[in-house]
Symmetry: D2
Subunit: 453 residues, 4 copies
């Protein structure tokens, strides 16, 4: 699949929006920021968060953009990875006397000046899940250094689940997990142009079915995933941001997750917004009052509760955020993780609610063509009507959208992505627990029980 394959079109259009709207007065305030490096006005998708407001604006912007496109805005992951690097390169230098942070800032300047779109390559192939990187039969199952040269390093391995990688300018490569002393060769982070020699991208594109006549924004979205193989790829030292400092691999992985989960508190509520609106519209087109029909009211209230609490978690994570020594402002992990966890635990339930209110038609809706066939088309349009004040076309449009949202490969990817993207429920359990002050809660319990140690 070449980079200008027609199947990439929907995702290219969405990414373009993040450039175009930066000049649109309505969105400008959200889509641009002042670089803390240069003081210049830059695209917010290249910005390192400096304060609470940056997080809050970023979250709101993400929700707005995703409501507009009807799906993922695609451009978050790269800058989420850079925010993580901004924090951790500073820490490594502070501890080790290295110069990663200076390298990072130089790269960031380039990134901001050229308004780069980057993907994030983090998840490794991982092989046998019960073994560490250095214990695998095939050492390439985690990406690793295979050669150290005076001008840089050569890496080999394979990164999975790289959203929109075939459309990115650059790839940010980070470790996927904590490493032990034996895993030195696997503890690496770097940035690389997406078309560097030795990079082989295997793309998987998923879109709703193409429409011929009933064109609609919801039909023009899509998901591009990539298996990115690094087949002896050279990385110059200037672009290497972690190299064998094993004790920082886990920290970098976890900061990347943190910033990406914060992005998620903006995009996930937008997905819920779409499900809410569609569910409410289904009820309306069926003549059901959303306040008085109790089972509809409850289901929509369930959706609102999920969406708004995930959003509230993002707000709280900014409000209780932390200024790191690097100057980067990080969201509070407790709120980010509980918010992401709520979202992950409920994503299938959200689609179930939509399905429940929709009835069986999304699964059995005749093909678009049949609605435009000579005789059959008239009959199908006759029989699809429900309320007399809603036209056959609008009724058809609504169910076509719901069918796309429930019964297509795209809907399957949406659900699975909603479950695992940025942190599976099990990963969130670990995330929630590892950063929570459980001892303070045990102290409270002991005090109330009268237990003195």
């Amino acid at each position: 699949m070449s980079r200008d394959d027609e199947r990439f079109r929907p995702v290219i259009d969405i990414i373009s929006l993040t450039y175009d709207l930066a000049f649109n007065p309505e969105y400008q305030e959200y889509l641009t920021a002042k670089s803390h490096l240069t003081g210049e006005r830059i695209n917010r998708f290249t910005h390192i968060h400096q304060n609470e407001q940056d997080l809050l604006i970023r979250q709101k912007m993400t929700r707005m953009l995703c409501q507009k496109t009807g799906g993922c805005i695609q451009r978050c992951v790269g800058i989420d990875g850079l925010n993580a690097l901004s924090v951790v390169t500073y820490e490594i230098d502070h501890c080790k006397g290295t110069e990663y942070h200076r390298r990072f800032l130089r790269y960031l300047k380039y990134f901001q000046e050229n308004d780069i779109t980057a993907c994030l390559a983090q998840t490794d192939a991982k092989g046998d899940r019960s073994k560490r990187p250095s214990e695998q039969d095939d050492p390439d199952l985690y990406l690793r250094v295979v050669e150290e040269r005076s001008d840089g390093i050569v890496v080999r391995g394979c990164k999975l689940h790289n959203s929109m990688a075939p459309l990115a300018d650059e790839i940010i490569v980070l470790p996927t997990r904590a490493m032990s002393e034996k895993d030195k060769d696997w503890a690496i982070a770097f940035a690389i142009p997406a078309d560097a020699e030795g990079i082989k991208m295997v793309a998987k594109v998923t879109t709703p079915p193409k429409r011929k006549k009933l064109s609609a924004p919801i039909a023009n979205i899509g998901d591009v995933e990539c298996t990115t193989i690094f087949d002896n790829v050279f990385v110059p030292w200037e672009r290497v941001f972690l190299y064998k400092e094993v004790e920082f691999a886990g920290r970098l992985a976890s900061f990347a997750a943190l910033f990406h989960r914060h992005s998620y508190t903006g995009c996930k509520p937008a997905l819920t917004d779409i499900v809410i609106g569609t569910t409410a519209l289904l009820a309306e087109y069926n003549g059901l009052d959303t306040q008085r029909t109790h089972h509809i009211r409850r289901k929509i209230a369930d959706l609102i509760t999920i969406g708004e609490l995930v959003y509230a978690a993002g707000i709280a994570s900014a409000y209780e955020g932390i200024k790191t020594p690097s100057g980067t402002f990080a969201p509070n992990p407790v709120y980010v993780n509980t918010g992401r966890r709520l979202a992950g635990l409920n994503i299938y339930q959200e689609f179930e609610i939509l399905a429940d209110v929709a009835g069986g038609l999304p699964a059995t809706l005749p093909y678009e063509d049949d609605f435009y066939a000579e005789e059959i088309g008239t009959l199908l349009n006759k029989y699809i009507r429900r309320r007399s004040d809603v036209s056959s076309e609008n009724q058809h449009r609504l169910f076509r959208m719901v069918s796309d949202m429930l019964c297509t490969s795209y809907s399957g990817v949406l659900m699975l992505g909603g479950l695992h993207g940025g942190g599976s429920p099990v990963m969130e359990e670990i995330g929630v627990m590892s950063q929570y002050n459980l001892n303070e809660k045990k102290r409270i319990a002991k005090e109330l029980a009268g237990i003195k140690d």
Copy 2:
């Protein structure tokens, strides 16, 4: 789409099984029965249940067949509709002095002797959900009689969600709801050859993606749904089984639902069996012990609990079943409805469990072709490996199946069908409540509270 369209192939193959296996010694005992009409050995899919054992065998047979095909066995609905007609035509005759039951038995004899496969057309287009059939702007929104002739009737309307209709010999048409006195013209039931004049079928076929090399049974299944339009169709009197006896329309609708939901207590556990097996295999291929890894153990136990309780509900519905005056043995509605309700309330959760254990790969798995491409194929097979004792191909096969089960239009239809097919959760609420002796429970509460009225 013509009847021999290649897209129908998977479903035709599945239906063929129900004929072939009737001669297979291993299945014969299940797949055949003794006709209560003729005493002849007949295919069980043409049999009217006579006793508890018939229900139990039917349930077990359905589970076995669906485990074998990996999906819906397709041939249940017609005979479920006939079982309902056997009960209610007898009742109408008893009350009204009509002769529907005699007609029915004659038709049944034909049905058994010719080993007919029939679909069931029950759900009407329904138009405005807040209005009864006779109140609709367009009277055709529920199927109705438009002309009465000496030799029969002419009907018009549209039936939705008719599974495998384009492949059926006959269509059994039943009312979809209770009718009031004003809805006489809509209170009709009959049987009709699927190719009768005026019948227009609009088919929708959903299958997993075709495979080129990695052939597997799971890829050879599919779902055929149909919007069946009756555009002035003539039905001879001998095939009319309800005609304007409005007080029996709801009863017929509800008996059809009852028998079909009983079928569901056989097929739904088979779907769960497949999800259980696949989930357990995923865990095994990841090196996770299903007993010792608690979150895996809990999830599989959840699946087993759902599947086996639905099955238990079927068993209990037979054990506490009812011999109706017609001689037909009907399952107990309390168990059938609570079983179906449990299934419907959990179908999305079952796929969520599979998704949870699978991780993100089913959404990002490269295309089958890529695995067989010259250079990339070798690399993809290198990186897909997990446990060293599981070959790349088997690992690939497993994830290809899971991807088909989670991220395709077929999986979307499976979920939606699992929610709504034969009875949505809301319909099941009504079903559960309408046949339950709530007064007896209130009596118990009053007695315990010391309340004397």
Copy 3:
């Protein structure tokens, strides 16, 4: 607390019912059985199940009795333990050439002839949960043999959660878990008169608040739990049924759980019945139609679904039960365990539904006395009225019952007992998984995926 302590009265009255009703024509058929030993008519609470019907009748009987008393019928555990012994003593003899089964049968004859009520003492103190019996600091933390004599053995230890022990004639003592070779001294089972020397019972009685005027059956129930300490208790050989055959300890523990969980499929639905009736009555007294008020309909349907599926699991466990070599008929563990698991996972939810429909009054209802106080009583009765056709007293009776069911120590014990009694959700996970044929499900998945090993 002496055996005739007034606080035991409610439980004594309930146990008496199991004797009295055996002579009541309405219950006789259920409450008696034909002994397979003597052919005599015996109380069913002393019977060893011989066939499917025995299990089905026992289940139905239990539900009826618990509906009548409004709570636990108390007398199940002893005979559940004996059913387990009947199976396993036979197996031990068969393997080891011992004579436990003969001893057991002799004891059973005594038990049946004297219409004995026995409690079951199974759960040990258990000390450190991460250690086996033989590894504990204090060897008494699991009950063990401390001396072997020619005429019997001397045991020491402590058994927890022994329901109604202070009122029992006999105690059946079984191991609580599987044992390893080193745990020989802890692998014991026996029967002992409840007043044997060295037995020290520490009783805990929980009842709803006593009433002065508003007497009602629901106020006359209670729970007696006991911590039973065996302080060097002598057991004659004739009453020892397992002695150091470590490989049968786990099997005995698990059969006892199996039979007791089967009992649970009878009593638990009765508790749900009471919650259903009370919830429906609350709705009725509030003027809410249980069919048309959707949130009420859903909640009651939830309760019915839970209660009837637990009951269906019991029926299925009998229908798919197993005739063991001993002749004892055992319920199918898959259904018993999934049924018990569903119950445990939903017990708090059932009370939540009742609480939800009840509103806040059960927590703030004035004391009974206040309703009978001179001036205040009149005012309270004035203000408690809701529907004009329901008297103040009946309204009061209903809320007094609900308050007892939700806001008393008794209700807390009911919920906790519903969660843990006979098998916690985690134990049920293990139970479900350990007896399930997971390999057969993996085989199905492999076949569908085209995986050949």
Copy 4:
């Protein structure tokens, strides 16, 4: 029950804390505020919120205080009611030219200067739930004006669920619902000294069982609820804040709910904190690692997710709060209601988690006395031990606390209060939906579907 009844002691002690800690340097910053009326330093429980910070501090203060007391801090409701009055009296005056706000401010000054503790009396007896106030058979079933005099009004009726009313200085009386034109006599709000003539309080006190030796803070808490009967009570005009302006009754009721639910985002997380700490301590005392034991980890993560998202909702409600025309700063209703709803939907589940980890012992734990009885005490202390490094007393203390939290009338009241206090799930459905911009979400759906009206 007189005001100095010993049973009130626990609640009196808790209220006293809110006075004492205002002078404690550690709490002063939270417990005091600057009056916007006088500029004086006042107790925060008498303060009207002026800005985002006020809401945030109030929320944090509430969590701290409830962690400290182990339960409800008791003093919130009165000032929540006054905050509502501050908003709505201003609005009425603005629309109607009345002078309620001036009266209110004068009362507030008195309230602040005297550091008053007030209860809130809002819920009426309500009689037949299907009828409005003016339609009831007995007009007193909602509190109403029975006489208008030159110096004030005389009211009659009954308010339910008035927490800590018998210990309050003043009662704030507000309408419980929206009123129609016919309900004029029932549309009233006022403040009244708690010992005014004609007020009859019927108290219900619930506490954990008293302890003799094992004293602990958790045993010294309690709940005082009150049915407050207004038997022709005179209210001077200066204390009347709503009088027959029916269109503001619902608004006042809903603002009171809003402010009280905001308080709830502080206290409810504290209750969850206690459950978290206790659950974690149970696991620790059982030797289970809270990270590595997956089912424990999941359950604690569930608790944290609930508690912290409720807290996040409070933060977001402040951050997105609204400065009303009166100057009072109100929390955003969407976040307050979704937060309260999450809490209500999960309260039983939280206690279920605690119960699940605790096992059966909280229900069967022998009486405190038995642990101190001569011989039995030694044995009970021997057998209660688990980990060798945890003393019998501490093990006993922990289970005594858990037993108090799960199996007492107090725990029942805690659960029911957690479900209904300040807003039942059904009320929250209404709350969530009535203030949500559903049309905006439908607009998004239409745009994506290509629907143009």
